[in-house]
């Protein structure tokens, strides 16, 4: 447990260094309250929610509505294009590099993490690993590597004009991460 705490604080520090905002929730109730608060404070109106067991278990649709936002509609592309915020789940968080990792083979997960300007990422703390090698081994030991495995470290950034760092060039300009504590761990698969 102490080790996990160390990983959590290392991850949080590194992710913040990269410009991500990191929050923690120790129960599903807390997580829902946090998501509501985040939606309210970012002021987004249109939210795209990916399908995943973790997200489903948190039952976020009423939360999004309670926060005064609405779930985007239409084809996946339309949803992704119109959403101001995408909510997706991640399996792993790499402490050393402040990186989130998820299987993004499913199109909604992929599009909702890539297109909207704000990305809300939820990851269970039991998904914390020390380094990239552990992250890869996690996938290797589970059989076939997923079709689209994405490693995300901070928001989308560029320094192509005069080496000045600017975020949100093609992907999200804001990355908000919620670490979900142990107890609530839901019927995850």
């Amino acid at each position: 447990m102490a080790e996990r705490e160390e990983l959590i604080s290392a991850f949080s520090a590194q992710a913040r260094l990269l410009g991500a905002e990191v929050y923690r929730a120790s129960s599903p109730g807390e997580a829902r309250a946090l998501v509501k608060e985040i939606i309210e404070s970012t002021g987004v109106r249109r939210v795209a929610l990916a399908s995943s067991p973790l997200l489903a278990s948190l039952d976020l649709i009423p939360v999004i509505e309670a926060a005064g936002a609405e779930l985007v509609k239409g084809s996946l592309r339309e949803q992704a294009e119109t959403a101001e915020m995408g909510i997706t789940a991640f399996e792993l968080a790499v402490a050393e590099t402040g990186t989130l990792v998820h299987d993004a083979t499913e199109l909604d997960t992929r599009l909702f993490s890539m297109l909207p300007l704000v990305h809300l990422a939820l990851v269970p703390v039991r998904g914390l690993v020390a380094n990239l090698e552990e992250a890869l081994n996690y996938w290797l030991t589970r059989g076939e590597i997923p079709g689209y495995l994405a490693f995300v470290s901070g928001p989308s950034r560029t320094a192509d004009i005069e080496r000045v760092l600017t975020v949100g060039v093609h992907g999200p300009g804001r990355l908000l991460i919620v670490l979900l504590g142990e107890e609530e761990v839901c019927s995850h698969e």
């Binding site: 996946l76 294009e81 590099t97 290797l140 590597i145 079709g147 004009i161 005069e162 060039v169 992907g171």
Partner: protein
């Protein structure tokens, strides 16, 4: 040759490029150091090198395994032998599918194919989506850097390009321009039917492609269009998935001083997509083009196969003094030192044959290479091959092959020149030479000495009862231009109790000949010098020129290894060769007691060969410090002075531009004296520095409490 010099002059005229590159480079070195905190770069790059060596040794086998695995996961793999084949494949695919719009994420392999031009000729709309690449594409230029293609443009220039090419008014505000780019490019992404990307790695074990980006454009390129084409060079293969870890650890750190890029994407086979019309495709089309285009030929080359280890981090560009001045002019599709080598195999030997001239051999890139490639060594080898194929120019042939190896002739020539130069010597400085006006412009070079060192040795002090005998290999510059350094070396060693002998049969160490790509002539010079030095039994062979030291210590054994007798002689000599400062520092108890405090504020200039090849840059500093000097390191500490031997004759303007930067660093240190251990650097730096420039031997000699009488 002159054409190249003209290109160089043109590039130098654009100060914006060198300003941007040098500023970036200075910050880069510091930021990179930080990014590597807690990591051992030497071990990491060794790992990378090992993985890539395995790749090169098993190239075909891995290509087959990759093809099998990726195909099993739903990809179509095409092995393209040449650029033409790769281009045709993509164009045919687009035609067959009726595709008209293509988005691309940055890929050097497609630059190598000149793919955009080709596809545009076929009537396709091709849009680069990496911000820098897009700007470059809009402006119709060529990327100037492997990682940062638009580093040479200012925000005002970018705004101007947007105004002109997009017809939108935008303030030269970076945040706003980035937003504009997001908006414009998003439209392109959403409307494109084909996405083309490169890949940083291709994993044979799993058929996985690995792509690193910061902007996220590769994620959109590989996700939105229903057809994805990847162009990946064969050398990007690695055997196992875990092999990507060391590369992921090194590449971002070395490229942009990041711990990791914002996005690392692992694509294995085909995944779902929705096309621009909203149709869901459970399996989009993934075409992987494994590109050869000279790579197998390179892998079969016993020397140049090493260059296939390159992971394109561009560290070698960032630290290269020539690249910093010239940007993309030092290279072709691929730029910098590595660009020269890749050009030779991928795009054109002729072009590379010209470009290699621009490397001044400072060795700095080797220190930083993420894959532990001996880039300067490869460039030297390329130069040898160029010379073997085309010969050296007529002037160089006379000087390097005709005069230099004939010691007597060469020395007579130097003595004559020393007399003839009189009209151009003012107050001990050479002013405006008739044949090389560029060389003397705005600076005062030291003239040839009327009395060379070899004629002064009879009058040098000798210890009464010597501890032993050491030989002095002076080299041409000390012998004929800076005999005062030889005298200082002698005074210090004599005071320490050593008898210094200067064997008269010695001549030029041969480095210029080696550098020019004439190993045969170099071997002859090596034999002459070995013979001269072997005549006298001595404790050590001392040099006060790091270039001579490198020649004697490393190059002689190398070039003579085919001949048992000479090889043995070279080996024995190599063990005895040591640079002056290291010899003295090892025997510091013999000198420190007889040294009066050095009361100077000194900054130390690292000579490339001393620092990067001999790794002897600590000894002179320790000596100066122990002697009481106040040592002020300059920032940045390790910059080449731009001498590079014949480089300064071939590209005087470039050499001076590099020197100027060095001078700024020296002056910035606030020191009154710059100390160094290389007569070449002294020649260069002394000609412009208004303070004192001295060899470490001179500083020590001046501080001796009891100098032996002459």
């Amino acid at each position: 040759m002159n054409e190249l010099r003209e290109k160089v002059k043109k590039a130098l005229a654009n100060r914006r490029v060198s300003w941007a590159l040098t500023h970036f480079a200075d910050n880069y070195v510091i930021a990179r150091e930080k990014a590597y905190a807690g990591k051992d770069f030497a071990t990491l790059r060794q790992k990378v090198a090992q993985i890539k060596e395995e790749t090169i040794a098993r190239l075909e086998e891995l290509a087959e395994q990759f093809t099998r695995e990726a195909t099993r996961r739903g990809a179509v793999v095409y092995r393209a032998a040449s650029a033409e084949e790769a281009r045709a494949y993509i164009a045919d695919l687009a035609r067959a599918k009726g595709i008209e719009t293509v988005v691309k994420s940055k890929s050097m392999a497609t630059e190598e194919l000149h793919l955009n031009r080709y596809l545009q000729q076929q009537g396709l709309e091709v849009v680069e989506t990496d911000l820098g690449e897009w700007i470059i594409q809009l402006s119709g230029q060529r990327p100037s850097h492997l990682v940062m293609p638009a580093i040479h443009l200012s925000r005002q220039e970018v705004a101007e390009i947007f105004r002109e090419k997009l017809g939108v008014e935008v303030e030269p505000d970076i945040g706003r321009m980035v937003k504009l780019a997001r908006r414009e490019l998003r439209k392109k992404f959403l409307g494109a039917w084909m996405g083309i990307s490169g890949a940083n790695l291709a994993v044979a074990e799993t058929g996985t492609l690995v792509i690193l980006t910061n902007e996220g454009n590769a994620r959109l390129t590989t996700t939105l269009p229903p057809v994805h084409v990847v162009v990946v060079g064969l050398e990007k293969l690695v055997p196992r998935l875990v092999d990507i870890v060391p590369v992921l650890e090194v590449l971002p750190r070395s490229a942009t001083a990041q711990i990791l890029t914002s996005y690392v994407t692992l694509i294995t086979g085909s995944v779902p997509a929705v096309d621009p019309e909203g149709n869901y495709l459970p399996q989009k089309e993934l075409h992987i083009i494994l590109l050869d285009n000279g790579r197998t030929r390179m892998a079969a080359d016993p020397v140049f196969r090493e260059a296939l280890k390159c992971i394109r981090c561009a560290a070698c560009l960032n630290v290269c003094p020539v690249y910093q001045q010239l940007g993309g002019t030092f290279g072709a599709v691929y730029t910098g030192g590595i660009g020269v080598i890749l050009t030779a195999f991928f795009t054109g030997f002729e072009e590379a044959a010209q470009l290699q001239e621009l490397c001044l051999g400072c060795q700095r890139c080797r220190e930083y290479c993420s894959a532990n490639i001996d880039l300067p060594g490869l460039i030297e080898e390329l130069r040898r091959r160029v010379v073997a194929k085309k010969g050296v120019g007529p002037a160089a042939r006379v000087a390097l092959a005709g005069i230099l190896p004939r010691r007597r002739l060469f020395h007579t020539f130097l003595r004559t020149a020393a007399r003839l130069q009189a009209p151009w010597v003012k107050e001990g400085k050479l002013c405006r030479l008739p044949f090389f006006p560029e060389l003397t412009e705005g600076r005062a070079l030291p003239p040839l000495s009327l009395v060379p060192f070899r004629d002064r040795t009879a009058r040098l002090p000798r210890p009464q009862s010597p501890r032993g005998k050491v030989l002095f290999f002076s080299g041409c510059l000390i012998d004929y231009v800076f005999p005062r350094i030889g005298e200082a070396v002698d005074r210090v060693l004599a005071a320490m109790g050593w008898e210094l002998v200067h064997p008269k049969g010695q001549g030029c160490c041969g480095f210029p000949v080696w550098q020019a790509g004439l190993p045969g002539t170099f071997a002859r010079l090596a034999q002459q010098n070995l013979a001269a030095l072997a005549e006298i039994e001595a404790e050590a062979v001392i040099t006060a020129c790091p270039t001579c030291t490198v020649a004697l210590k490393y190059l002689y054994p190398e070039v003579l290894k085919g001949d048992a007798k000479w090889a043995e002689l070279a080996r024995v000599l190599a063990e005895k060769v040591t640079d002056f400062s290291s010899f003295v520092w090892e025997r510091r108890e013999e000198i420190l007691p007889i040294l009066a405090p050095i009361r100077e504020r000194i900054t130390y200039h690292d000579s490339c060969h001393l620092k990067y090849t001999l790794r002897a840059d600590r000894a002179p500093r320790e000596l100066l410090l122990a002697g009481g000097a106040e040592l002020k390191e300059m920032a940045p500490p390790e910059l080449c002075c731009g001498f590079g031997g014949s480089f300064t004759l071939k590209f005087p303007e470039l050499s001076r531009a590099i020197l100027k930067r060095k001078l700024q660093a020296i002056e910035g240190s606030g020191a009154e004296t710059v100390a160094l251990d290389c007569p070449g650097c002294l020649w260069q730096i002394g000609s412009v520095f208004s303070g004192k420039a001295k060899h470490t031997a001179e500083i020590l000699a001046e501080s001796l409490k009891y100098p032996l009488a002459l």
